[in-house]
C-alpha cells in the first residue's frame, strides 16, 4: 500500500471551490517589479482528493493510537483526546497573541496555573513556558547560566560538563551558547564517574548538564554529591527534563540541587508528538536565576474576583535573557499540558513515576528471564532500560537494527536503537505507564519469537520488514543523490 504524491493527483484548473473567497478582487497597486511572475507551485486538487490522500497517508504511520511504541527517551504514552478537544475550543483558538490581555484572561489563567503546577512538581522557584521545544529549553537554561555568571562578573566561566551518555542536544546546545563542552565518563554502574568530575571542575566551569535518571536508564545515585562538587566549584546544575516522567511527583529536580531545568511537556505531560513536533520545553528556575528568565512569562496581580493575569516583559524582568519566540511559545501545546496536569492532579502525577517505573522494571525482568542481556542487570530500571543484543549479533549475525525492523512486522514500534552510544547493539526501551501488562507480555513474546527466527533463519530479520507499506530504504544513496522536492517536469514517477 503506497500513495502517489498529491502533485501527481492534480489537474490544471482543479480546485476545492468552497475553500477560497468566491471572487478574486483586483489588486492593481502592486508594482510589476514586485509582483509574482512565476507559477505558484501548489497542487491543483479537489477537496475530496485532499481528504482521501491525507487520510490514506495517515494510515501508513505507526502511532501511539495504533501501536505499542516503546521508543526509549521519548515517552510515547497515551495522549488523552480531551486535551486536544478542549485546547481547541474556539475561544482559545481565535485569540490573537497581541490582543489585549483583558480579553485573554481565560487562557492566561490556564497558563499561569500551569506555571504554578510545574513549579511545585519540580521543586523549583518559578517556571516560564516560552521555550518551544526541549532543545530550546536547554538553550534557555544554559543561556541563563551564562547570564548568571556574566552578571556576577564571572565572564571566564565557559565550560559545560556533559556526560558521555547525554543526548546530542546537550553538547550542541552548549556550543550554541558559546561554551566549550567537557565530556564526563560513565562508571561501570552507569553513573557519572565522580573522580573524573572532581578532576574536571574548575574556575572555568559554568555548569553541568544532566538528565536524571540518565539515558542509561538508571538513577544517578550520587546526585547530591555531584551537586555539591559542581556548586562548590562555582558552577550551576542544569537538568534536562527528557526523563522527568521517571520521577514525576516522586523526586524533584529542585530537591536534587538543580538550579535550572527544562521539561519536555510533549513527553511528561503527554502533549502530542505530532510526527516530530511541536514540542514544548518549559523552564523551571531557582530563585537566584529568576531575574534572568525569558519573556513573556505570565504574572498575576490581585486575588479572588480581582485577579488579573499579565505578560511580564523587560519592564518586569530587566535582566531577562529576552524573547526566544515571536509570541508566547507553543501556547496550544501548553494548553494541552495544562489540561493533562489537571486531569492527573497531585496523586496522578506521582503515579506516573510509579507505574512508568513498574512497567519498566517488569519488562526488564521478563526480558532478562527470557535470556536477553540487559545493560545494568544489578540496577533498578528507571522508566526505561537497555538491552544489548551484542550476543545475538555474534551468534546469529543479526544486528539491533535487524531486530528492530522485525519488531515492526510483529506490530510493535521499535525501541530507540544505537543510543546511548556507550552500549553496543543497544535497545533503549521505555514502555511508559499507560501500557497494560498484556501488551508488555506480548512484546516479550515477540522478542523471543524473533530471536528464534534469528537462530533458525537470520535472513528473515535482515529482510524485515516485509509486511509494511515499505521495505528497508537505501538511506546512503538517498543522502548522496538528494531529492528533497518533487519536480513535476523531470519525474518519471507519475
Amino acid at each position: 500500500m503506497t500513495e502517489q504524491l498529491i502533485f501527481e493527483r492534480g489537474q490544471p484548473g482543479r480546485r476545492a471551490h468552497a475553500q477560497a473567497p468566491r471572487q478574486a478582487p483586483a489588486v492593481d497597486d502592486i508594482p510589476d517589479a514586485l509582483a509574482r511572475d512565476s507559477d505558484i507551485g501548489l497542487p491543483e486538487v479537489s477537496e475530496m482528493d485532499v481528504v482521501r490522500h491525507y487520510t490514506r497517508l495517515s494510515q501508513l504511520n505507526f502511532s501511539i493510537d495504533t501501536h505499542f511504541y516503546p521508543l526509549g527517551s521519548c515517552t510515547m504514552k497515551h495522549n488523552p483526546r480531551a486535551c486536544n478537544t478542549l485546547a481547541s475550543l474556539p475561544g482559545f483558538l481565535d485569540r490573537h497573541p497581541l490582543a489585549p490581555a483583558s480579553h485573554g484572561q481565560g487562557q492566561m489563567c490556564c497558563l499561569y496555573e500551569l506555571q504554578e503546577i510545574l513549579t511545585e512538581v519540580t521543586g523549583m522557584d518559578k517556571c516560564s513556558l516560552t521555550p518551544m521545544a526541549g532543545a530550546q529549553g536547554e538553550f534557555t537554561g544554559v543561556a541563563m547560566i551564562k547570564a548568571y555568571h556574566d552578571h556576577r562578573g564571572d565572564h571566564h566561566r565557559d565550560e559545560i560538563l556533559v556526560p558521555d551518555a547525554a543526548h546530542g542536544t546537550n553538547p550542541a546546545t552548549a556550543t550554541m551558547c558559546g561554551c566549550r563542552v567537557i565530556e564526563l565518563p560513565t562508571d561501570a554502574d552507569g553513573d557519572v564517574d565522580i573522580a573524573a568530575l572532581r578532576e574536571k571542575v574548575s574556575e572555568r566551569t559554568a555548569g553541568i548538564m544532566l538528565t536524571n535518571p540518565s539515558t542509561l536508564g538508571v538513577f544517578e545515585q550520587d546526585i547530591l554529591e555531584i551537586a555539591d562538587i559542581v556548586h562548590g566549584a562555582g558552577g550551576l546544575l542544569y537538568y534536562d527534563g527528557a526523563n522527568l516522567n521517571a520521577i514525576l511527583g516522586k523526586i524533584r529536580p529542585g530537591d536534587m540541587g538543580f538550579d535550572v531545568i527544562h521539561m519536555n511537556l510533549h513527553k511528561t505531560f503527554s502533549t502530542p508528538h505530532g510526527g516530530g513536533g511541536p514540542g514544548s520545553g518549559a523552564l523551571g528556575v531557582g530563585s537566584h536565576l529568576r531575574k534572568f528568565m525569558p519573556i513573556p512569562t505570565i504574572g498575576r496581580r490581585g486575588d479572588g474576583a480581582e485577579t488579573r493575569y499579565y505578560w511580564m516583559t523587560e519592564a518586569d524582568l530587566p535582566h531577562t535573557i529576552g524573547r526566544l519566540s515571536a509570541f508566547m511559545g507553543n501556547t496550544g501545546v501548553l494548553m494541552r499540558a495544562y489540561i493533562y496536569a489537571r486531569l492527573l492532579g497531585r496523586d496522578g502525577m506521582t503515579r506516573v513515576a510509579e507505574y512508568a517505573t513498574l512497567n519498566s522494571n517488569y519488562l526488564m525482568a521478563r526480558l532478562k528471564d527470557a535470556g536477553f542481556e540487559v545493560a545494568f542487570p544489578d540496577r533498578r530500571a528507571s522508566h526505561e532500560f537497555i538491552v544489548t543484543l551484542k550476543r545475538e549479533k555474534s551468534q546469529f549475525g543479526v544486528t539491533a537494527a535487524d531486530f528492530a525492523k522485525r519488531l515492526l512486522d510483529y506490530g510493535f514500534h521499535a525501541p530507540t536503537i544505537y543510543f546511548p552510544l556507550l552500549v553496543p547493539e543497544c535497545f533503549l526501551i521505555e514502555p511508559t505507564e499507560t501500557e497494560s501488562r498484556e501488551t508488555l507480555d506480548a512484546f516479550v513474546e515477540a522478542m523471543v519469537a524473533i530471536r528464534e527466527e534469528a537462530r533458525a533463519d537470520p535472513e528473515t530479520l535482515r529482510q524485515a520488514p516485509t509486511s509494511l507499506p515499505a521495505r528497508r530504504f537505501d538511506e546512503v544513496a538517498a543522502a548522496k543523490r538528494l531529492d528533497l522536492a518533487y519536480d513535476a517536469g523531470s519525474s518519471a514517477a507519475a
Binding site: A16, C109, D474, L484
Partner: protein, 459 residues
C-alpha cells in the same frame, strides 16, 4: 489513577516477577532525603467532565471581538478538513519518523510540504520546518555565517523594518555566537529600508543582509535592489517573507538580477495554524541547493526501498546533533510536524488559485479599511507606497488609549507602535484579512469615529 491500566492483580503479579514487595521499593536506589515530596500546591485530579466544564467557561471568557491585529500573526479561514485530518491519531500521536518503514505517512507529508515551500518561494530546497518565524530568522543568520565562507566579519545587517520581535529573538539566540548585528534604519516617508543607511556598509565585509517582504509595516521593500546590493557586497541575502503574500509577490528565488535570495525564512502560521494565543506556529526555511548542508533542522528525501519502490526517509542526518553533537549545525531536533501537516493539507485545499484569491482579498480588504479609516478626521497613513495587507495609521490621539476604547466596543484595532519605534507615537499597525466583511470594516470605522469623538469632546 487516570490513564494507568493496572489492576491490583496486575501490580501484585508484576512485582512478584520483579522480585519487589512494593512499588516504592523500585525507588530504593534513590537517596531517602529525596523521596519525601509534598505537592500541596497542585490541585487534586479532576474528571474529564469537570475539566471540560472549566475549560469551556474559560474559553467562553476569551470569545468575541473583531480582530484587525496582524503584526506577524494573521486570522485566516482554515478549512474544517485541515485539523480534522491533522489530529487523526496516526499523525497526532506519532513521533519523529526514525523508522521510515513505519512512518511513510509523516515522511511523505513532509516531502510534499518541502515541495510546496519550494514552489511558493521559488527556492531549491526547504527543510521540514523550524519552531517559528522569529527563531527561523536566528537560524538563518547562523546558517549564513557558516555558509558565507568568504566573509570573516560575522556582520549581519538587520533593517529596522524587520519585525521588532524577530530582531530581538535573533539577537538573543545568537547572543553567544559573536555575531555583529548592525541596524539599518528605514526611510521615514516609505517605511522601507533607507538606501543611504544601507550604503554606509557598501564595500565593507558584510556576511548577510536581511530583507523583509512585506516588512513589519506591511510595506513592500525593493527586494530586487536589496538582493543585488547584498550580492554586490559579498553578502548573502536572507529573505523574511509572509508565505501568504507570495501568491501576489515575486518569489524570493527570483529577487534581483542573479539567482535570487540565498536563504528564505518566514512565519508559516498564515498557512493553516490558528492564532491560538501565540502558537504553535512554524518557521519555514528554504535555501539554494548549494547551501543545503549548512541548513539546520530536519529534511526528508526520496529514497528507494529494497523492492526498488519510492519512499521517503530523513536524510542529511549527519548534520544533526544526535550524530555530530557539539559540532551540529544547530541544537534543533524537533520540527513543528503537526503544523507542517496542517499547512500541507491547507495548501492542498487552497491550491494556487485559492491562495491567490485569499491573498488578493486580504489586500483588497485592508485597502477598503484604510479608505474608511482615513476618511475620519485626523486619521492618516504614516507611510506611502505599496503594501500587502497591513499598514500604519496615525491617529489624532494616543494609540494605546484608542485601542483600549475600541476593545471595549468589541474591536481589536491593531498594534500600537510607540513601544517598538521611537517617533511612531499615536500610530497603529492595522490589518484586515479575507475573514473580514464589508460590515466588519464599517464596524471598525464607526467604532473609531465614536472613540475619537468621545476623546475630542470636552470633558
Amino acid at each position: 489513577m487516570p490513564f494507568i491500566p493496572h489492576t491490583e492483580a496486575d501490580v501484585r503479579d508484576m512485582l512478584a516477577v520483579i522480585g519487589a514487595e512494593t512499588i516504592d521499593d523500585l525507588f530504593d536506589e534513590i537517596d531517602p532525603r529525596l523521596r519525601n515530596v509534598s505537592l500541596d500546591a497542585i490541585p487534586e485530579g479532576a474528571s474529564e467532565q469537570e475539566i471540560t466544564r472549566l475549560m469551556r467557561e474559560r474559553a467562553g471568557r476569551d470569545e468575541g471581538g473583531l480582530c484587525f491585529i496582524g503584526a506577524g500573526a494573521y486570522e485566516h479561514h482554515i478549512p474544517a478538513a485541515v485539523w480534522e485530518i491533522t489530529t487523526r491519531g496516526e499523525f497526532y500521536s506519532a513521533y519523529t519518523p526514525y523508522q521510515p518503514e513505519a512512518s511513510q505517512g509523516t515522511l511523505q507529508v513532509v516531502y510534499e510540504y518541502q515541495t510546496m515551500m519550494c514552489g511558493l518561494t521559488g527556492m531549491d530546497v526547504s527543510n521540514a520546518s523550524l519552531y517559528d518565524g522569529a527563531s527561523a530568522l536566528a537560524e538563518a543568520v547562523l546558517m549564513a555565517v557558516r555558509a558565507n565562507r568568504k566573509s570573516k566579519s560575522r556582520r549581519v545587517l538587520l533593517p529596522k523594518s524587520v519585525h521588532p520581535f524577530y530582531r530581538q529573538v535573533a539577537r538573543n539566540i545568537c547572543a553567544n555566537q559573536a555575531i555583529d548585528f548592525e541596524v539599518v534604519d528605514f526611510d521615514a516617508e516609505h517605511g522601507t529600508v533607507d538606501r543611504a543607511a544601507l550604503d554606509r556598509w557598501a564595500g565593507e565585509d558584510v556576511t548577510a543582509l536581511v530583507i523583509p517582504q512585506p516588512n513589519f509595516f506591511g510595506a513592500l521593500e525593493d527586494v530586487d535592489a536589496l538582493t543585488d546590493w547584498a550580492h554586490d557586497n559579498g553578502a548573502l541575502a536572507i529573505g523574511v517573507v509572509n508565505p501568504m503574500s507570495l501568491a501576489l509577490l515575486k518569489a524570493p528565488g527570483r529577487w534581483g538580477g542573479g539567482d535570487g535570495a540565498d536563504i528564505v525564512v518566514g512565519e508559516g502560521q498564515p498557512l493553516g495554524a490558528p492564532l491560538a494565543g501565540g502558537g504553535p506556529y512554524f518557521g519555514l526555511l528554504c535555501c539554494r541547493k548549494k547551501h543545503v548542508r549548512q541548513m539546520p533542522g530536519r529534511v526528508v528525501g526520496r529514497a528507494l526501498d529494497a523492492d526498488g519502490c519510492d519512499g521517503y526517509v530523513l536524510t542529511l542526518q549527519p548534520r544533526e546533533q544526535h550524530i555530530r553533537r557539539s559540532k551540529a549545525t544547530s541544537n534543533i531536533c524537533t520540527n513543528q510536524g503537526l503544523l507542517v501537516t496542517a499547512a500541507t493539507i491547507h495548501m492542498s485545499l487552497l491550491g494556487p488559485e485559492g491562495l491567490r484569491r485569499t491573498a488578493a482579498t486580504c489586500a483588497a480588504n485592508t485597502r477598503a479599511l484604510v479608505e474608511r479609516l482615513t476618511a475620519i478626521d485626523g486619521v492618516s497613513r504614516v507611510f506611502d507606497g505599496p503594501y500587502f495587507h497591513e499598514t500604519v495609521l496615525r491617529l489624532p490621539m494616543a494609540a494605546d488609549a484608542a485601542l483600549e476604547a475600541l476593545a471595549e466596543r468589541g474591536v481589536f484595532g491593531g498594534l500600537a507602535l510607540a513601544d517598538h519605534y521611537d517617533g511612531l507615537n499615536d500610530t497603529v499597525l492595522v490589518c484586515a484579512t479575507e475573514t473580514k466583511t464589508a460590515g466588519d470594516l464599517d464596524a471598525y470605522a464607526e467604532a473609531l469615529a465614536a472613540v475619537l469623538e468621545t476623546h475630542a469632546a470636552p470633558a
